[in-house]
Symmetry: C2
Subunit: 396 residues, 2 copies
């Protein structure tokens, strides 16, 4: 924000210019900021000594010694990006641009509890750092996505339905006992939205990411920012009522929720009622891929139900991109056909002229990409850079 | 944004500190910004000469000459705030805090066309400036709310259904032929959301404003910012489908839209079908206020239909305040009873624990308050202040 009470020339502010990925001379930095060249030189020296900025060769010159050029060095720090799912944990070590350097994946139920899951994350971090020869001292932060509601300011899960033992657990404090860096926690769908946008839609400011899996949820990016709402529950579209839902009771206790009709479990259940052996959503996707017509019909109907809620989202949020991800997105075209059918019929022309509805490109890496992004947004902000330089000065 | 390419010490940035309404000394400004005291002194002089900052007495001192204090002076400029409704035009002259100095209201159909309506606005501006003895040279800008979709970047209406002659009209250019100041245009519901928040909920970052009138629409504030969506159509909840709507055809051509069931016209129509003479929504409100039970029942049912869509809004946006405004809000408690009944039944507990659903306090002034706010946000931003000081320097 422009009015956050700072306006002086600080290294963190100067750094924001250098983040554009281009090479800058000191003179260009001075002209753009209006700062004295001596001030710029001092800030650049500080950033060079941190490693976050590097010299990248010389500019052409009309005569005399050519001036040096500087640019952001994304490889100067690492980020630990963690995706905790209902039944798996994925841990990736990335650079500050989200490039994955190494990763591990383990089948582990979130219901094993926070000590077991986060204990694995910490051990995994040590293995990944050692394997890639990155010192822990250059780890910039840890980003964690959890499969339930999280109070963003504190990183504590809030009454998460499928995470016994996690309610109110101090995730940040627990991880910081071992890794003394900033730890940021958010729910998995918010993080997937961040990851999908950072990786594939960086210029799109209004994007809706839908996760279709055992449950259904969404992450909302409006005006370029993730929207969490007043209590962090924004994007909870699994419990929106759909017209076909009369009489169908959801696990939340309400009637007619989208999740009770169109989640992986719900589709499997409706197939089982037709005598098709489908214990879960993955089986339905498998059956559809082999041409089972009952499975295909069920997925298409689920797509229509999802489309009904997405039409409402289009009315309310007017996104330019809707991304469908999560494990059920593997049933891609069958679901998408139903979604598109309803969204384009129900939504106003002005809101759908430029609307794209696409399958996730980040796929199962969306969450770790977003967890990395959550950390880099934080540590590369003006305040984050100031804090990093300050701790460096204190340590030195 | 922190990374918009500026980080040098400019008068516009310094001014953001002074906008807090408190009195600052030069020394406090220097300490907070990290700028040299000579730099601060120069910027303060520039702001003083603009009149946007004034000296407000002296600080206590431990000895020697007491230092001067400075503060933002909202009365230094005026704003023309315009609310164009379906059948009326309201024009207010305000200061930079949105305080109304004088206003006029005229019955005039928007269908009279842009030249007639905006011609009245310009004549009204001249009368209001003259009556309050404010020179046109100190008019900071014009904010206009229109009853239809507006492309925010250009201020042009986009296929507005009830505004014949306005589609694509250059509102900004037309007004600037007479008033050579920034002109900002938005749709009326967005502007009402801004006005209600600025006036009564300045600390609420997630607010939903619902306008119930001939039509139904909403303005969405998330993370403290008005959300317009990719094409400016965000908040269009009048055409969300509701469960009770099967078979009811809306004027948009779709079936089951909220507006076709719960707008003022729709409620009047349903009463007429029961043999009650109610030509429009205003009559229904009047009947209900006299205890007509059919009118009360109809309004309560409209409240339930609206509540069904608002429950979805709560799931998606997780606001902490929902404000119900517009002419039908005069039927306050009858509609609210239905709204609350459904929202608290359908929405997740975590999202409703802190949720307040209230009637508009700004009332029929919401739009002019918001139009004023739209202008002051623009002209008091760092870039707006720089532009104002620059034009002052050029003129001088």
């Amino acid at each position: 924000m422009a009015d956050d009470g700072r306006s002086g020339p600080r290294a963190g502010d100067l750094f924001q210019l250098l983040r554009d990925g281009k090479a800058w001379t000191r003179a260009e930095l001075a002209t753009t900021t209006g700062l004295a060249r001596s001030t710029v030189a001092g800030k650049v020296d500080l950033l060079l000594s941190s490693g976050l900025v590097v010299s990248v060769g010389e500019a052409s010159s009309s005569g005399g010694r050519p001036p040096s050029r500087f640019a952001f060095h994304a490889e100067a720090r690492t980020v630990l990006a963690v995706d905790v799912g209902a039944s798996h944990v994925r841990v990736a070590l990335t650079d500050l641009n989200g490039e994955v350097l190494a990763e591990e994946r383990e089948l582990m139920p979130v219901a094993a509890g926070p000590e077991a899951v986060l204990g694995y994350v910490i051990e995994s971090a040590e293995r990944l750092l050692a394997a890639t020869h990155h010192p822990e001292s250059l780890l910039a932060g840890v980003g964690i996505g959890l499969p339930g509601p999280v109070e963003h300011a504190t990183g504590r899960p809030v009454k998460p339905p499928i995470m016994p033992g996690w309610d109110g657990f101090d995730v940040v404090g627990f991880v910081q006992q071992s890794l003394r860096v900033p730890v940021l926690v958010d729910n998995d769908v918010n993080i997937m939205a961040l990851g999908e946008r950072a990786g594939f839609w960086p210029d799109v400011d209004d994007l809706l990411f839908i996760k279709l899996a055992t449950g259904i949820g969404s992450g909302i990016i409006s005006s370029g920012h993730l929207q969490r709402g007043a209590d962090g529950t924004a994007g909870d579209l699994g419990h929106v009522r759909v017209a076909r839902g009369d009489g169908v009771v959801c696990r939340c206790g309400n009637v007619g929720c989208l999740e009770a009709l169109a989640s992986g479990d719900a589709v499997a259940h409706s197939l089982a009622e037709q005598g098709v052996d489908a214990p879960n959503g993955a089986t339905v996707v498998e059956l559809a891929s082999h041409g089972n017509s009952a499975a295909i019909q069920s997925l298409r109907q689920a797509g229509r139900d999802i489309g009904e809620v997405l039409a409402t989202c289009v009315n309310l949020l007017n996104p330019s991109v809707i991304v469908i991800g999560g494990s059920m997105a593997a049933a891609g075209e069958h679901i998408m056909a139903g979604v598109r059918e309803v969204v384009y019929r129900r939504s106003p022309p002005l809101a759908t002229t430029n609307l794209r509805i696409v399958l996730s490109r980040a796929g199962e890496r969306a969450a770790v990409m977003g967890a990395s992004q959550l950390v880099s947004q934080h540590v590369l902000s003006p305040a984050g850079i100031e804090a990093a330089l300050l701790s460096m000065a204190t340590a030195g």
